[in-house]
Symmetry: C2
């Protein structure tokens, strides 16, 4: 087991754009992924919650990931979401990610059946890891109880780490509960821990976290990266305060439609605002208000000039 | 729109057996489906919650449904579960079911993202129905908020019925809340309503329900069918009391592992007890206790002699 982290820094769960027929738009997708890396993302987590991954089909996910790699995104920088509620589909997606050379796989627990036992969840991950059966696999556990409802207890994390020490590499904590992140950091220092929001970036880094994986990295990676780069200096505090305030301003709107509306606006590409049901786009007046508020109160803007 | 119901009576969400490698076992599956029809099921709902459908892969579901039809199960009697959290996969599964001639499709709402708007859910079902684009499609809405968390409000049901009157045909109510079932029956008499438990069978039939779709039909279809056949007679009351008592006795155990343990016992086929993670099999002592209690207190047994 290498002591060096596989992933660190600022990681965006890449938004998935759709075309006018509602199909995933591979061109806009890879363009956005490349722009995120240019903006300072250290890595990308396509097919996260923010990516509307759970509204995509298994085939769509396989194809889109191949597009990213074919279009020149370094697979070592990719930590695609591969966890579905189905053991079989999770193995399919994870095998595929490993074969493409992805640096890791971000894995939801099986989330349809509620209240599974710890033993059942342990067996699930054991079957996924043994089913994939590839030493290159690095699993990042995806703890997001507000959405998945099913999560990872401290004892389940410990059992998985003991049983699969070279494979279970990290955890994204989207509980929104700093005390949970702190407990994981204290208990399992060998784990690469990423809070699911940049609100906890500085506290996380001070406590041993490796960075953050956050929805808002889709629009504010540059500012978040600044905090990451200077986190050991006194300057970090006020930069953290600014990204926290910006995150809170964005969070006042439905996150995925708002992020897409912001990108549509600054790209001058209204089609970017499309979401897949059960999401609905932000109404025009709401979108305008969001964009104006972010600009006026936070000096927020996006620059796509270099990428255009 | 035909006034005649497409489905009625006693419908089993068919358990999915697994082989020793953990793969879905098509032979045991079709054998069980045929036995359920022999026991008095009027129709079958493979790939329900009880079927561990959400632990199966999309490909597995396509193949297993084809096996059922290839092995001679009348597709008009099939109402497979086709709802996943993904619009794309739901269209794939539903198209396939329609092409095979299935009488209906039982559809969960998209269940990963929590708290979707009514508008978002409406658009989701509109896109599924328009995506499948086949007049033969009959949609049965699957309301199971204790598991899916996302459900169907009365107003959403009404909107879907108004917009797709020939297509939205029915609803399975697994809320466990009789007042909800009663409200749907009162408000939408044109809908084929099935309570998700035989506990509500007699009350349901008196209120206009068409039957029930219930997990325990996998082991007690015969007794449930008896209630259905005589529901207008005075005799129905005590038969209903007996199936209610049996259901409650089975419910004392984790439902899916318990049903499989019971079938494994009476078939003399221990492999039948296998479940897919995140479920775990009932421990042997628990299984023995369940089987003994059901036999002693409810005179419960299963007869596979004719099917053997």
């Amino acid at each position: 087991m290498a002591a060096e982290a596989h992933f660190s820094g600022v990681i965006a769960p890449v938004l998935t754009p759709f075309d006018e027929d509602g199909d995933a738009d591979a061109d806009r997708f890879t363009e956005h992924a490349q722009w995120l890396l240019d903006e300072g993302c250290t890595a990308l987590a396509p097919f996260g919650t923010t990516s509307e991954a759970n509204s995509l089909g298994i085939e769509e996910r396989l194809e889109l990931l191949e597009e990213l790699v074919d279009d020149g995104i370094d697979p070592a920088k990719l930590m695609p979401g591969t966890g579905t509620c189905s053991l079989a589909d999770t193995i399919t997606l994870t095998e595929h990610a490993v074969e493409l050379g992805c640096g890791g796989a971000l894995m939801l627990p099986p989330f349809y059946y509620k209240g599974p036992s710890e033993e059942g969840l342990f067996r699930y991950f054991a079957e996924v890891i043994e089913g994939v059966g590839d030493d290159r696999l690095k699993v990042y556990l995806y703890h997001i109880p507000p959405v998945a409802q099913v999560g990872f207890s401290l004892s389940l994390i410990g059992r998985l780490l003991r049983e699969f020490p070279g494979t279970v590499a990290g955890l994204k904590d989207s509980s929104g509960d700093w005390s949970n992140t702190a407990a994981i950091l204290a208990e399992y220092p060998q784990l690469e821990v990423f809070p699911g929001s940049e609100v906890f970036l500085l506290d996380g880094l001070k406590g041993g976290a490796k960075g953050c994986i956050s929805a808002t990295c889709n629009v504010s990676a540059k500012a978040i990266r600044n905090v990451y780069d200077v986190w050991k200096t006194p300057e970090a505090e006020h930069l953290q305060a600014a990204i926290t305030a910006l995150r809170k301003a964005i969070q006042a709107y439905p996150m995925i439609p708002a992020l897409k509306a912001v990108i549509a606006h600054y790209r001058g590409d209204p089609g970017w605002a499309a979401v897949r049901p059960p999401f609905v786009p932000l109404p025009a007046a709401e979108a305008e208000k969001a964009i104006r508020t972010l600009a006026d109160a936070h000096g927020f803007t996006l620059d796509f000039a270099s990428a255009a």
